[in-house]
């Protein structure tokens, strides 16, 4: 690596001669190797999904090292990277949400929440005595004032964008490609004859129910069950159906989605070539999911 050994990469308060801060880039590396986290903004809500690797079979899968957290009635965070760093971001987000409500008497708007999280994350990139967070954050939130739901992602640099579909972690590239095929961007949906969206609601033609299936499929298709460690698929949503509250996607809904996803993946694989070694692996992965 060109940066290594130059001496310009030992502190986040040091610029390199060509104007980069290597420490931030290194922190981002920590996220690139972590479990995939996905967020999808649908017509009637938002879905978050995270692949949570399980280091061994004696873990209590449903509580251990959670990656999706509720920070307010209508706001949820998915984190990936260093989970312990991520928890710190989650704690801060909760404080921001509760302070805002105490001061203004209304729920914190999604943009404000995301902006404040990003300010916090950014602060850790400014000082030599601190290090940047090794975690990316997806923010799913609903604004009861404007009745709009939105999805943001904050990266270790502190940069923050709003997304129709966001991905972080190991499988982000492939996941982005897959999500681009879904009709979630209203500009494209309109030209493709999909359902338009009136008012401030936003979002494309896809529903959360469908979104859950699509994300399950993407996460499963990214995996090589023969090689990868067992994992738990964590999913949450906030949607019309949940009264816009952020909550875990019901377990039976996830199970159905996974079943559907596996079948889809299998069918696609069979279409492409006749080598059906994969399907047995798929079944093997299924057992792990149930844990």
């Amino acid at each position: 690596m060109a940066s290594s050994g130059s001496g310009y990469d030992l502190s986040s308060s040091t610029f390199s001669p060509d104007g980069r801060i290597f420490q931030i880039e290194y922190a981002a590396k920590a996220v690139e190797n972590a479990g995939t986290a996905l967020g999808l903004r649908c017509r009637d809500g938002i879905v978050l999904a995270v692949e949570k690797p399980l280091v061994n079979r004696m873990l209590v899968a449903k509580t251990t090292g959670r990656r999706i957290h509720t920070v307010d009635e209508y706001a949820g965070l998915a984190i990936t990277g260093f989970v312990s760093d991520g928890r710190q971001i989650v704690n801060r987000a909760r404080e921001e949400a509760s302070n805002y409500e105490e001061t203004y008497g209304t729920k914190i708007p999604p943009e404000t929440l995301s902006a404040r999280i990003s300010t916090y994350v950014h602060y850790f990139t400014l000082h030599g005595a601190l290090r940047p967070f090794g975690a990316s954050t997806l923010v799913a939130a609903y604004d009861p004032g404007t009745k709009r739901h939105s999805l943001h992602m904050i990266e270790p640099s502190g940069v923050c964008y709003e997304y129709y579909g966001a991905a972080a972690g190991r499988g982000r590239q492939l996941a982005r490609t897959e999500m681009e095929k879904l009709s979630i961007n209203p500009a494209r949906v309109a030209s493709g004859g999909g359902e338009g969206e009136g008012g401030g609601g936003g979002g494309g033609a896809i529903t959360v129910a469908d979104g859950v299936r699509q994300l399950a499929k993407i996460i499963h298709s990214l995996r090589d069950d023969a090689k990868d460690k067992p994992f738990e698929l964590e999913m949450s949503w906030l949607c019309e159906g949940s009264g816009w509250k952020h909550q875990g996607v019901p377990r039976d809904v996830i199970a159905d989605a996974v079943e559907w996803a596996k079948k889809e993946i299998k069918d696609n694989a069979e279409d492409e070539d006749d080598d059906d070694d994969d399907e047995e692996e798929e079944v093997g992965g299924g057992d792990v999911m149930e844990e």
Binding site: S4, T64, F82, V83, S84, D85, P132
Partner: protein, 265 residues
């Protein structure tokens, strides 16, 4: 020895996106003697091997009571553990004063992990060099949690940390499916059998170096040591020995897989 320039500060990321200082702190857990914990549907049990520095010294303390419903087992820097134990006792007492009920273990474990994490992100303090196993019985039933210097926390059905703990873990992994229905004493026997595997060479599990902590539905956290431990050891003896050498085929197991990818999980 020049290893690399990224491994002397907690606040410096390596080009691969690793925190070497934190990974080194994780190593210090493996320097401590073994500690294992497991649970059934009614009880949680901690077991530990106590070291003594010489014939003239006492054995160290490996299991600490935090509250009536909660105890910890430690591996690594014991002085760090005592700092944390003091803080945990305080948290439990405060919770009991304010709410009149026992501190929920999950919340305490998360707060503890957050405490660990904070030391990994600022220059001023080194990470804690200790791994903790929490065994408790609270309003959601029995729990076992494991924390480590990186700030990661896991809830487990069974787990082992410390020197030569891999063979203990192997034992637990082999039998953990039977744990949920185990009675209290049965669970303690499992703990002892797992511990035997963690003893080095010609060592032996005795009432001196063995230590058990148990908590359950109708039982406050209790330490079982010395004479009280002897009946369990006698039972172990009847079963087929309590010296480490021949307990399990742990030698091959000892070729430790590089367990936890340090922090990520």
């Amino acid at each position: 020895m020049f290893r690399n320039m990224y491994d002397t500060d907690v606040t410096v990321w390596s080009p691969e996106g690793r925190l070497l200082q934190v990974e080194y702190a994780m190593e210090s857990v493996k320097q401590g003697s073994a500690c294992i914990a497991l649970r059934s549907d009614t009880h949680s049990v901690i077991g530990a091997l106590k070291r003594s520095v010489s014939e003239l010294s006492s054995h160290q303390q490996k299991i600490l009571e935090i509250d009536d419903h909660l105890g910890i087992g430690i591996a690594g820097l014991t002085a760090d553990a005592r700092t944390l134990a003091k803080w945990m006792r305080n948290e439990c007492l405060n919770h009991k004063y304010v709410y009149g009920t026992a501190m929920p273990t999950g919340r305490l474990a998360t707060d503890l992990a957050d405490r660990h994490q904070r030391t990994t992100q600022t220059y001023v303090r080194r990470p804690y060099g200790v791994g903790l196993l929490l065994a408790s019985f609270d309003k959601n039933g029995p729990h076992v949690y494991q924390t480590c210097p990186s700030g990661n926390v896991h809830e487990c059905y069974a787990t082992a940390i410390g020197a030569r703990s891999q063979s203990g873990r192997t034992y637990l992994e082999k039998h953990h499916e039977t744990f949920p229905t185990c009675a209290r004493d049965e669970l303690i026997m499992h703990a002892l059998r797992a511990l035997v595997g963690c003893i080095s060479g010609d060592g032996e599990l005795t009432s001196e170096n063995g230590s058990i902590g148990v908590v359950g539905k109708d039982e406050k956290f209790t330490l079982i040591e010395g004479a009280e431990l002897q009946p369990y050891l006698d039972r172990l003896e009847l079963e087929g020995g309590n010296n480490g050498g021949d307990a399990e085929d742990e030698d091959e197991v000892e070729a430790e897989e590089k367990e936890d990818d340090a922090m990520e999980t």
